[in-house]
Symmetry: C2
Subunit: 225 residues, 2 copies
DNA sequence: CATAAAATATGATATTTATCATGTTTTAAG
DNA sequence: CTTAAAACATGATAAATATCATATTTTATG
């Protein structure tokens, strides 16, 4: 099993502030897991009891609403820590996490890492910063949901995926989502999401082939009203 | 000037975890302020550089969207700490804070309290918990915005105001908001908010007299579809 | 590779919400 | 108390989005 001390992934999240000794101890109690596309990592109401360090892959954090639709709140990717809230609260998970492609993750039990949160001020400050950042992002999404059209939100989602997660060699978005996922990010009906994507195609803003989407006119997308 | 050590308001927020000595020091550098209804506490883009402890009153945290509408993201009330994010990030404020009625607040400079965040683990854990809680709430609002109708969101807002902030002796909601504020919480046009409130009146769910709103049928409001 | 199931696509229509217009009521200032 | 401004209210209409129906394409699986 690989060691946390040597893992480069940790550079991208709060674990980077743990000391050598702390990392060695955590390395000894972590479990590595492979998670297949579509698999549930945890669900709303689950007791999570630890954090997942994402070594590879992407998952969605979503919440089921009363009308049966899943609202995607955040995408969590390689390098991120998943389930930081569980370290801090005694509550059950508020969101579900589902793999969008095959993933490699390490699970660190809460019992092992919780003490570092109070002993290592750098680490707790990092977690605080991360949470503050998530909070700002969430506030921004609230504003977008409330004030922007489906067209705008979908255009912004495509821009976000392009700028945050990049493209494959063939220039298509490296994050591959179903039309339903797009609808669940934007907060609209699947048919509406499909319709808007079709419009974008007709306008030459994107091109598609199956689930693959290529951004053809980034500036145009940014200007969508 | 009153002293933090003896202030009961701090019991309701993270400041309760500061030691006697820390409180005495902070008491010496805080500034008490009276803020009039409608006054701006800070604006998007401002450098906040400290936290406000709300001794009395209510304010709204909102963000201006591109179309010129203000989206209210959160209400901050007596007992809460305002501006916790500023302690953690170097960024400027992401939201504006505006008093909804006359307020009494104490301002604690970041420079004085930041060191406590790394020295006092109880305090930083409290701030973390608070932030985790804000994050959960924000995620829930995203889901509501995306999946619920204006009617439902407005009904839920009324229930929230009733259950979180209570009523005056005459049974009207103690938080008094303009129709525009309601629209800006729900994320709809002012006319739409007014129309829905009128419907609720006709259905006997609420009654109004000017800005005062009385919940007449709480269960009915909770069942609004 | 055949076939069923799932995902994508598009039209027709209904519903929700926004916008514009205009009148009424409430509030604040002198 | 008067008066102007702001807030509230409501109708008419337009625009955005959801829903339902149905066809086509893609994907998964034996």
């Amino acid at each position: 099993m690989s060691k946390c001390e040597q893992c480069i992934v940790k550079q991208f999240n709060s674990l980077k502030s743990l000391t050598k000794e702390e990392l060695v101890r955590i390395s000894g109690c972590k479990t590595s897991k492979t998670i297949k596309k579509g698999e549930v990592i945890f669900e709303e109401g689950d007791i999570v009891n630890g954090v997942f360090c994402i070594k590879d892959g992407i998952c969605k954090l979503s919440k089921l609403s009363a009308n049966g639709k899943d609202q995607i709140v955040k995408l969590v990717v390689k390098g991120d820590l998943l389930g930081q809230r569980s370290l801090v609260t005694e509550e059950t998970a508020n969101l579900s996490a589902v793999a969008l492609n095959d993933m490699e993750v390490c699970f660190i039990p809460k019992s092992e890492i919780i003490s570092d949160l109070s002993k290592n001020a750098n680490f707790s400050m990092d977690v605080l910063k991360d949470m503050a950042n998530d909070l700002r992002q969430a506030d921004d999404i609230i504003v977008n949901m409330a004030q922007k059209s489906v067209r705008q939100r979908l255009a912004e989602t495509l821009v976000y995926l392009y700028e945050s997660f990049g493209t494959n060699p063939d220039k298509t978005l490296s994050v591959i989502l179903s039309r339903e996922d797009y609808a669940n990010i934007v907060g609209t009906a699947v048919e509406s999401a499909i319709r808007v994507l079709s419009q974008f195609k007709k306008q030459g803003l994107i091109s598609t082939s199956g689930k693959k989407i290529k951004i053809e006119n980034l500036e145009g997308l940014k200007r969508v009203e």
